[in-house]
């Protein structure tokens, strides 16, 4: 079998927000979603990305072992959409496990169905982005259907503690009571209760849109106030969910 080669946008060796403890984050290039609030639009296309063999990624990880091992740290595959490159991610995760490092997948769930089981088998934590819980809103925000996202989450939740649901909180867009209740309903319907990471929307990626010659579709949208974030968190907490700030 040919050794899988990944298309990598960039590597961040000090990841502190994408999975537990310290992570080396591989941002993979190429995404099937076109989220209107995306902060990494530069990773949508695989063009200009670096081709990286699993062995090269593993070598980098190996040199980071003393920082990452023994406290729950490890590697995170993010992007772009890492699940679109399941063979590469699997290879890297397998190598990471061999080094005693934990693995995390920051994904929208777009894994080809026949690869799901294998990918999840080597994934310790799935950070699943559920950008909206109402199918029409999801399509409007991301350009993609909601079904596959939820299906992937359902599989990931079969093992306790593996699934974390991420929701970027866009004030006036996906923070309505109906939206939050639908999110809670989904979370509570899973085999194991996932943790919810509520990420306040931010505008730090806006300049990238301009650099790519694109118009930012959410011009004028403001980050949520602390009060709005708290209210959303409380609504989910009253349903018995554990909410963290992302």
């Amino acid at each position: 079998m040919k050794a899988p080669v990944g298309r990598v946008h960039s590597v961040e060796t000090l990841g502190t927000r994408d999975g537990p403890a310290l992570r080396c984050v591989f941002f993979l290039a190429g995404c099937n979603f076109r989220c209107r609030f995306c902060h990494n639009p530069d990773t949508w296309s695989a063009r200009g990305s670096k081709r990286m063999a699993v062995s090269e990624a593993a070598e980098r990880l190996e040199r980071l072992i003393p920082y990452l091992r023994g406290r729950g740290g490890g590697v995170t595959a993010s992007g772009g959409e890492p699940a679109l490159q399941p063979a590469f991610v699997e290879g890297v995760f397998r190598a990471a496990h061999g080094m005693g490092l934990a693995t995390a997948l920051d994904t929208n769930g777009s894994c080809p169905p026949r690869r799901r089981r294998r990918l999840l088998a080597v994934t310790d934590v799935v950070l699943l982005d559920v950008k909206a819980s109402e199918p029409k809103l999801h399509r409007r925000l991301t350009g993609a259907p909601l079904g596959p996202v939820l299906a992937f989450g359902r599989m990931a939740a079969r093992i306790p503690g593996r699934l974390v649901i991420r929701r970027v909180l866009l004030p006036g867009v996906n923070d309505s009571p109906e939206e939050l209740d639908a999110l809670a309903n989904y979370a509570l319907s899973l085999a194991n209760r996932p943790e919810i990471e509520l990420i306040p929307y931010h505008r730090l990626g806006v300049h990238k849109w301009a650099e790519l010659g694109r118009r930012y579709p959410l011009e004028g949208l403001k980050p949520p106030t602390a009060g709005k974030w708290r209210a959303a968190a409380r609504r989910l907490e009253t349903r018995g969910l554990v909410v963290r700030r992302g």
């Binding site: 960039s10 590597v11 961040e12 060796t13 000090l14 990841g15 502190t16 927000r17 994408d18 403890a21 310290l22 080396c24 984050v25 902060h39 990494n40 980098r60 040199r63 980071l64 003393p66 920082y67 990452l68 406290r71 740290g73 993010s78 920051d106 991420r166 990471e197 990420i199 306040p200 931010h202 505008r203 730090l204 990626g205 300049h207 980050p223 949520p224 106030t225 602390a226 974030w229 963290r244 700030r245 992302g246």
Partner: protein, 742 residues
């Protein structure tokens, strides 16, 4: 009723002067957390408020509160001084008034005159007369010996920052000896040493006899200075307060006599802890009082002042004295050397608020107790006032009782000194190689016999050949310059107080240094892996470089760049080792610039890595700003690979981060910082400054991006160099980082 204190466990220290042995036999490691610590008492608060008031006045008066322009400073030049006599627990000031600076004209009277003038004072004409007519100064002596070549290297800033116009410092007296043995015993040992120095055929013996005689005078002066405060330093300290007081007065004597650029104080915590523990056990001391003693000692160290000429401030911004105090570390037998007093020193940062002095340095090992590691991480995050150094790397070299001289330089306690040698501007050396041995700014011929480099693009092999030749020639000149400086310093500005508290026969190091390190590594990589087109002026000197294509840069954990970095360090130290050194000192090398990277960069033309003329270098061994593309850990790995055996004077690395990039909440930040430190030191890194930036520091980073090479902003799934963002975004980050907006 206090009980009689327990006697100390005896050992080699009871027979010979051996402070390490005393500590080793008597200290108690502490593996608990900070719960036992005391906050500031009302007395401490009052005293510190008074000092802060004086410091505010000092800042308002342009940085210098007062100068005594009438008497040359010395151990006995000024009588006792107090802040608030009844409320002070540890006594002693450098002059008769707090923050009043003494003049030290033996370093160079002209410099002192200029320093006085810069602060609106005039040096007493009598002192000017004595030191220009009757008494030669160190500065004059050096310049009378320098060759034209040496002066040229100095003037062009190729070998630069040299201690030929300021005092070399860097020596660490073993101040604890005064507390443990008392001056009588130390003096008796010195007299015995003097009697044994009788081989008059050797010039060195005569020199050393004269030095020991000066040391004896210093010891007598220390005794008298102590008496002025009502203390009898002839005998050993009887309790904790005396142990701290005696140690402080010994350091004070040194700070009164010399104005060295860095006057480190070594490791005191385990030593003090032995006394404090004994007093606590016998009921003569409470925890609150113990903390007060450490707080007062810290206050005293924060008040040490030296008068500096303006050109000194240009190199070392911020009026530093580098009273480096080491904490923690491991004992040679595998026990942690962390004591409750190590915690107490960090507690002083909380009780008094953070400050750069004393320069607290944590000797780090991943094997240290978890609670201590967490406490140091938390303190670093809260104060940005700690630096960390690799105990596992240094302990095997000198044993478990050592100090850090200045910022990163290892010195064994009690019997080792270093001759400080500033640094060679390596970027200028590379430009000499590209310009036929001529200086890129003036066009003057500096290094003979370097062939000109022609052709549209730079050829790596030719450049490398030339560069190695330049380095070989420069290393020889550098050693000679240092020989001149330290011969003169020993003769005209001998540090008798510090040397009196060290063994008579000391081990000597000569500490050479490099600046512009990462710019040169990247330049070599650019020439090797991209195509570099020099732009030359009419004289043929390189004015700028156009880099075609990409190259691997230092700071990305990329072997192509990191190997070149390693090779550069080893090449330089090997060249230095070829030359005979003053008093058989062993050469060491540092990659350290402190704040001078900005000044040296300003004086250096464009370099082949694409750095523009006058742009700053990265500080110390840091990768060049903005060229690290794989995040902090990759950058740390590149620096950690630099071979410590070839740069034992220290490899400095500065790490800046905002709290939110370190982790989502305080507990995660603490744990993550411990993870970073464990990893960096396990990888072999020697030193790291940790700046967890608060709002003010971020504002500073907006004004001076070059000072904050690692500053990365992190939110979920997204990272960016702070200084690459637009102004508007920086403002947003500022707001976001400090939780004004979510």
């Amino acid at each position: 009723m206090p009980r009689k204190p327990e006697p100390f466990k005896r050992g080699r220290w009871s027979v010979k002067i051996d402070v390490q042995d005393f500590i080793y036999r008597n200290y108690s490691p502490y593996e608990g957390g900070p719960e036992f610590l005391s906050g500031p008492t009302a007395r401490t608060r009052r005293l510190w408020a008074r000092v802060q008031g004086l410091m505010r006045r000092e800042r308002r008066s342009g940085g210098v509160l007062d100068i005594d322009t009438s008497v040359p400073g010395g151990i006995l030049s000024h009588g006792p001084g107090y802040i608030d006599r009844r409320n002070e627990l540890i006594l002693g000031l450098q002059t008769d008034r707090p923050l009043r600076r003494a003049v030290k004209p033996v370093g160079g009277v002209r410099l002192v005159e200029r320093a006085c003038l810069a602060h609106g004072r005039r040096l007493s004409p009598r002192i000017s007369e004595i030191y220009s007519k009757y008494r030669k100064s160190h500065n004059e002596a050096v310049f009378s010996v320098y060759t034209e070549e040496m002066k040229l290297l100095r003037r062009l800033g190729i070998i630069t920052g040299l201690p030929d116009n300021y005092a070399r410092g860097r020596i660490i007296g073993d101040y604890r000896r005064v507390a443990l043995y008392g001056l009588d015993r130390i003096e008796a040992e010195k007299r015995a040493d003097l009697a044994r120095l009788d081989d008059f055929v050797q010039f060195e013996t005569i020199q050393l006899r004269e030095e020991v005689a000066m040391q004896l005078e210093a010891l007598a002066a220390m005794r008298e200075m102590g008496r002025g405060y009502g203390f009898d330093l002839s005998r050993p300290a009887a309790d904790a307060r005396e142990a701290i007081q005696w140690t402080y007065l010994a350091f004070l004597a040194a700070a009164k006599e010399s104005d060295g650029a860095a006057m480190s104080i070594g490791g005191l915590s385990a030593f003090f802890d032995i006394y404090i523990r004994r007093d606590l056990a016998s009921g003569r001391l409470t925890e609150e009082r113990a903390q007060e003693l450490i707080d007062d000692f810290t206050i005293k160290l924060r008040m040490i002042r030296q008068l500096r000429p303006p050109e000194y401030d240009e190199i070392f911004a911020g009026d530093p004295v580098w009273i480096t105090l080491v904490l923690g570390g491991m004992s040679s037998d595998g026990r942690p050397k962390v004591t409750r007093t190590d915690f107490r020193f960090l507690q002083s940062l909380r009780n008094l608020g953070p400050a750069p002095e004393p320069n607290l340095t944590v000797l780090y090992s991943p094997r240290l107790p978890a609670k201590w590691k967490e406490f140091t991480a938390e303190t670093a995050i809260r104060t940005s006032s700690l630096q960390f150094e690799n105990d596992d790397l240094m302990r095997p070299v000198v044993g478990d009782d050592y100090g850090i001289s200045c910022c990163v330089s290892l010195l064994r306690a009690g019997d080792q000194i270093q001759y400080f040698g500033a640094r060679c501007n390596l970027a200028k050396a590379l430009l000499l190689a590209l310009n036929g041995g001529r200086d890129e700014t003036r066009g003057e011929l500096v290094v003979p016999g370097i062939p000109a480099i022609r052709g549209r693009y730079l050829d790596y092999d030719r450049v490398h050949d030339n560069f190695v030749r330049v380095i070989g020639w420069l290393a020889g000149q550098y050693v000679r310059i240092m020989n001149v400086i330290h011969w003169s310093h020993d003769k005209y500005y001998y540090e008798s107080a510090q040397m009196a508290l060290l063994d008579t026969n000391v081990d000597r190091l000569m500490a050479f240094g490099l600046a512009g390190f990462s710019a040169v590594v990247d330049s070599l990589c650019a020439i090797r892996y991209a195509r570099v087109e020099p732009v030359r002026d009419r004289r043929g000197m390189t004015r700028d470089f156009i880099v075609h294509g990409e190259y691997p840069a230092f700071g990305n954990d990329d072997e192509r760049a990191d190997n070149r970095a390693r090779d550069l360090v080893i090449t330089f130290i090997s060249e230095l080792r070829k030359h005979a050194i003053y008093r058989q000192a062993a050469p060491t090398l540092s990659i350290l610039t402190i704040t001078s990277n900005v000044l040296y960069g300003k004086k250096t033309g464009a370099t082949p890595d694409g750095r523009k003329a006058g742009a700053p270098f990265a500080p110390g061994a840091n990768p060049m700003f903005g060229r690290e593309r794989n995040g902090v850990l990759a950058s740390l790995n590149s620096v950690a690979k630099l071979p410590y055996h070839a740069a034992q004077d220290g490899i400095s690395n500065t790490f800046s981060i905002v709290p939110s990039a370190l982790g989502p909440d305080p507990a995660a930040r603490r744990a993550n910082l411990v993870g970073i430190l464990d990893g960096y030191f396990e990888k072999g890194g020697q030193h790291i400054n940790v700046n967890v930036l608060d709002r003010e520091l971020l504002r500073e980073a907006m004004r001076h991006p070059e000072r904050h090479p690692h500053l990365t902003i992190r939110v979920s799934g997204y990272a960016v160099h702070f200084t690459r963002l637009s102004r508007e975004h920086q403002e947003e980050i500022l707001r976001r980082t400090f939780h004004e907006m979510m």
